[in-house]
């Protein structure tokens, strides 16, 4: 290199240096520019522009900061930056659905967003600052936003007890129990009941092999081309409990063959009192008499029958017991009589009460069931099967185990197969990467997976043993909501403290009352201290409500006080002794702390008071719009024809003061009655008596005297 050129930079090098410098500066600028153009800043600026178009700009921008906003609640494990973009979330004036997202306000709920965070209910990623990452599943973030249609699942993660505000979740939880999901799966807060499916130890004495074959093939339900579920060919909205298993022809033969041999205790024919069958009531057919008794006893409260009226066929009756339209062609008549006389002898945990039968009634009702509730074509299409061969029996027994029948059905000498399916107690918190979608083309998210699994298990797992369920779309969504609410143990101690647990206390009193209570299965329909069914009134405070004599009469011959009800209390034909035992226990034990009979002075119920009460009832408050007295009035509340014999004065006063305090979900609105008005109305109601009722205790008799005077008034 010549000396004069030393220290000089070539032109080319200069150019390179200049270009790289520019490039370097530009490269350094990338990061600030990206930051300036980031999504959240876009929404920050958009909110300011949006607020300026609103009349209350000043209020909308009062809390505005140009930075990232964050809700931090260490106790709940919440770090939510959602409010960075969702800036109007607490602004009442932005509630209108016309306000564009992400600026719309959150509807006011019991848990305000700023105190509870967003992800606790909505899921998604609280710390993300991009729309996609916050809301959807990405490679780095697994938990997508919960669609608002299933949001009640989040209520259920802490509120394990049912809430009025979450009907969809409650329905889903009820379905989990009703569909016997707990037979194969472990679920949170659903305990395994004593009996899921019927005990099959003696099933061969009850039904024929042909019937078992048909039942296994189409367990009562068939879905037609329009997707309507039918029961024995009749359309219904109820989902049958026994689901459809995918059984092949040979499997049907084997399993039905095996089950038909299960006859450890053959049904003994019952010998009727010689007079019963020979004395047909009023010369008519015993089956007609039986039908009448069947109706009078209100068997339809638990069992439905298909009825065709004006060309449309529908099931009428309750769903606690099986549907009975064709039961006469199903069961062995000897078994039927033995069953009616003592259901618990065949199924120890059956919900069916043990009725008090007279021989004549039993004969007539069984005649009705076996002669009228029949269908000669019930077993049409079933091949003639004959007696099962030893091979069939052996294969059937193996199938019984392979298919997991013993997870729901009890069979003597066969171990129970609980937990056959996967544990679902934390299924709602599963990440997408933990799910196997197989060959299916459904969207890759938990909700689509759960719904595919329920409606068509084979679509996601060709080897699935799970049977097929035909659910309406509402029920499917409800069930999905309930499953999504099962997210396992709470993530933090703060969340654990918030859990409202589900009460699982049972009510099985001892003594004579306990015996009668178990015999007539009162708890299948009635609630006692939040244990029992919900079909009939809660009886926890019945002792404060009803007079003892009325209770005894009602138990002997239940007459509804609500004329519009289709499902009514069955007639148990209980003895005087049993009715007295129940009434005495209810009267002394099942009392409300808010009703104090000693505070009632019966002298205050004067005829003048009653006359004033009548005026209040008919003119000022128009109670007749909902309650019937005599032949006129509304059908919303109970009829009050016999209120004076039925209700205790203390209950009426407490009820008028605040009905919701006694029955929290009653629809009777709470009124602002004055004390005088309450006394007057009570005095009037106590004068209402249906004639011909025997009077009981001294107290009742005393009130009668008072009220009779009232009735003489013009």
């Amino acid at each position: 290199m010549p000396a004069e050129e030393m220290g000089q930079i070539s032109r080319r090098l200069r150019l390179t240096f200049a270009v790289t410098s520019v490039l370097f500066v530009v490269a350094l600028a990338i990061s600030p520019v990206r930051d300036l153009l980031s999504e959240w800043k876009h929404y920050k600026r958009a909110y300011v522009r949006f607020a300026q178009t609103r009349p209350d700009t000043k209020r909308l921008l009062a809390d505005y900061r140009p930075q990232i906003d964050q809700i931090w609640i260490p106790d709940l494990g919440v770090v939510d930056r959602c409010t960075t973009c969702h800036q109007g979330i607490t602004q009442a004036s932005l509630l209108d659905p016309a306000v564009p997202q992400p600026f719309r306000a959150h509807p006011p709920i019991p848990h305000p967003a700023l105190q509870w965070g967003c992800t606790a209910c909505h899921r998604g990623q609280g710390a993300a600052t991009e729309v996609t990452e916050a809301h959807e599943t990405t490679l780095a973030w697994e938990q997508p936003l919960l669609p608002v249609h299933f949001i009640q699942a989040s209520c259920g993660t802490c509120h394990r007890a049912d809430l009025r505000e979450t009907p969809q979740l409650d329905r889903g939880r009820a379905l989990l129990v009703q569909l016997n999901c707990v037979g194969c799966h472990r679920l949170r807060d659903v305990e395994r009941p004593e009996m899921l499916g019927p005990d099959l130890t003696n099933v061969g004495t009850k039904v024929s092999r042909q019937w078992i074959y048909k039942w296994l093939k189409e367990p009562r339900s068939v879905t037609d081309a329009n997707g309507n579920v039918t029961v024995n060919g009749y359309e219904t909205e109820d989902t049958p409990r026994m689901p459809q298993f995918r059984l092949k022809e040979q499997e049907l033969r084997d399993l039905s063959g095996y089950l038909s041999t299960l006859q450890s205790k053959p049904a003994q024919p019952y010998h009727f009192d010689a007079r019963a069958p020979a004395a047909p009531g009023k010369g008519s057919d015993p089956a007609d008499q039986g039908e009448l008794r069947f109706r009078q006893m209100f068997c339809s409260t638990c069992h439905s029958l298909s009825v065709t009226r004006a060309g449309t066929t529908s099931l009428i009756g309750g769903d606690i017991g099986p549907e009975l339209t064709k039961v006469g062609s199903k069961v062995n008549p000897d078994w039927l009589i033995a069953w009616l006389r003592n259901p618990q002898a065949y199924l120890p945990h059956s919900k069916m009460p043990r009725y008090q039968w007279s021989d004549a009634d039993l004969y007539d009702v069984t005649q009705y069931i076996t002669k009228r509730l029949t269908d000669p074509d019930l077993l049409a299409g079933v091949p003639s099967l004959g007696a099962p061969t030893a091979d069939e029996i052996q294969r059937g027994r193996r199938l019984f185990v392979d298919k997991g029948c013993a997870s729901c059905h009890v069979l003597e000498g066969m171990p129970s197969q609980r937990d056959l399916g996967p544990d679902l107690s934390a299924v709602g918190a599963k990440d997408v990467s933990q799910l196997s979608f197989g060959e299916s083309r459904i969207p890759r998210n938990l909700i689509a997976y759960l719904q595919a699994k329920i409606t068509d298990p084979l679509s996601v797992n060709p080897a699935a043993r799970m049977p097929v369920y035909h659910l309406s779309s509402d029920d499917l969504d409800a069930l999905t909501t309930a499953l999504l609410s099962m997210t396992g143990a709470p993530a933090t101690a703060g969340l654990q403290k918030l859990v409202v647990s589900r009460s699982q206390e049972s009510f099985h009193p001892a003594g004579e009352f306990g015996r009668v209570y178990e015999r007539y299965k009162c708890y299948v329909c009635h609630q006692f201290n939040s244990f029992g069914g919900t079909l009939a009134p809660d009886l926890s405070y019945e002792g404060s409500r009803a007079q003892r004599q009325w209770l005894t009469d009602f138990l002997k011959d239940p007459k509804t006080v609500r004329p519009t009800l289709v499902l009514r209390m069955p007639q148990f034909n209980m003895t005087d002794q049993e009715a007295a035992t129940l009434a005495a226990y209810i009267g002394t034990v099942l009392n409300s702390p808010d009703v104090d009979p000693s505070a009632i002075d019966t002298k205050q119920f004067t005829p003048e008071r009653a006359a004033l009460g009548k005026q209040l009832y008919e003119v000022k408050y128009e109670c007749q719009s909902c309650h019937t007295i005599g032949a006129s009035g509304g059908y919303v509340g109970p009829n009050l024809n016999n209120a004076g014999n039925w209700l205790t004065p203390a209950w009426i006063e407490a009820w008028l003061r605040n009905p919701q305090k006694l029955v929290p979900d009653t629809i009777e609105p709470r009124r602002a009655f004055t004390n005088d008005e309450i006394q007057a109305l009570t005095a009037y109601l106590l004068t209402l008596r249906a004639s011909g009722k025997p009077q009981g205790s001294a107290q009742v008799a005393r009130i009668t005297e008072e009220s009779l005077k009232g009735e003489r008034l013009p």
Partner: protein
């Protein structure tokens, strides 16, 4: 070699901008009913399903608990008490009657009862049974199911201006 460096830097630059200016992708368009909190079939046309917001859905729950017995022609328990009453209560979806009444008026008739607004005393007051918020939710539900559809009134002109 230098050209390579230049090209590499250029490529970096482009890549940097490309990731910075990523097009705004949006959540997949889903079924509108799935987006809704709850839904209700139009009373006159079961095929038309109306999506409900949270408030409207709470109103629907309260309606089916308290109001349905007299303000609809069929109830969860079967027959309705409506035809039994004189004057006959208005159907809850009857837009021809309810659309012209303001939210405030409907809220007060529910809270204070029929007699407070010179209507039939058969309509009881719900002030002590339902909260103010619950009453507003019932009104929101009424508006959602109204036939003909309810139009939110335009914002009234302010009476006083700063000018």
């Amino acid at each position: 070699m230098k050209r390579c460096v230049v090209l590499l830097l250029l490529a970096l630059l482009v890549a940097g901008f490309a990731s910075g200016c990523k097009a705004k992708r949006h959540a997949v368009a889903a079924d509108p009913l799935r987006q809704a909190y709850d839904s209700e079939a139009d009373w006159n046309d079961a095929q038309r399903v109306i999506p409900l917001t949270y408030d409207q859905a709470q109103g629907k729950r309260i309606f089916y608990l308290q109001c349905v017995w007299c303000h609809a022609d069929s109830t969860p328990a079967g027959p309705s008490n409506r035809s039994n009453l004189k004057p006959m209560p208005v159907l809850m979806n009857d837009g021809t009657v309810l659309n012209r009444e303001s939210d405030d008026y409907l809220e007060s008739i529910i809270a204070l009862g029929g007699s407070a607004v010179s209507k039939s005393a058969m309509m009881p007051p719900y002030r002590q049974t339902l909260t103010q918020q619950e009453i507003q939710q019932v009104v929101a539900y009424t508006r959602a199911i109204a036939q003909p559809a309810y139009q939110t009134p335009a914002r009234p002109e302010p009476k006083y201006t700063t000018r």
